[in-house]
Amino acid sequence: MDVKDIIKPENLVYEKTKVLTKTTMHYCPGCSHGVAHRLIAEVIDNLDIQDKAIAVAPVGCSVFAYNYIDIDWQEAAHGRAPAVATGIARTNPDKVVMCYQGDGDLASIGTAEIMHACNRGEDIVVIFINNGIYGMTGGQMAPTTLVGQVTSTTPCGRDTALNGYPLKITELIAQLPGTSYVTRQAVHTPAAIRKTRKAITKAYENAMAKKGTAFVEIVSTCNMGWKMPPVEANAWMEENMFPFYPLGDMKNSEKGAVEECYKQN
């Protein structure tokens, strides 16, 4: 059978979701942000909540996310996305609010905001992209940078005597009683991407059911910041990031379930 006979509308099995706009993303080739954006768009499409989804864009590479996902967006100051999302969620209880943040945004300047938003148990979805580096500004060390990892501000590798230790923010958040679902996923292989899609779907369902904050960390690559080709960056992430940031669900309950939080940690 010829390829031309297969390429017909009735045989279509996968196409770009309509929630994504036609704008070409400005991200570097192989960037995990592209996959994360598409997964969020597909989940919004599957759950049919395009009209009631509101998202808060962070500061970082994904600051232009409002150009790519066709839902309502609000831009927040650096690190303050969960605070802005709190306001939107409380004034619009019938909407689903998501904040999309990177590790420089969420784990460094916005640590106070995310901790308190999760502790208050705001009914929002938080997508946390962790690539261990400040990607947009040129690959500087972030709080999540691994020990010994070379960045532009730690050219000899991260030294714990000088720079302290990497921050496992997702483990901290899993201890808070306000959260309903805390998980860590990755987007480097087709299987991992399908799992992440399920996790984001569950996060949205929890937020819609007012169960508490749903937090999805996505361990991702920054191949330009790490100075590697995309395929090599994925292999490096598997080898070095996953032992320190193990994948899997950390919490799956409802807000207020204090016993379970203390039992798990």
């Binding site: 390429i7 099995v13 996968y14 196409e15 080739p29 942000h33 087709p190 080709p229 395929v231």
Partner: protein, 74 residues
Amino acid sequence: MAKVKGAVVVDKEECKGCGLCVVACPYDVLAQNKQVNSRGYHFSFMENPDNCIGCTNCAVVCPDTCITVYRVKL
């Protein structure tokens, strides 16, 4: 022999030539073209179209969502 047959269409102007789909393909269908698109990227194309089973792995890993997948049962 596979009982399904697939085909992929790569939007060659959208493709940034990251090569993730080439690695994700279980049947070595895709490869990076020696030619470049208008932005200078070596876009992906079907090098061995006969092997494709339409598993959608390439489309699922594509960060720029430039792959559309078709599949027929034989």
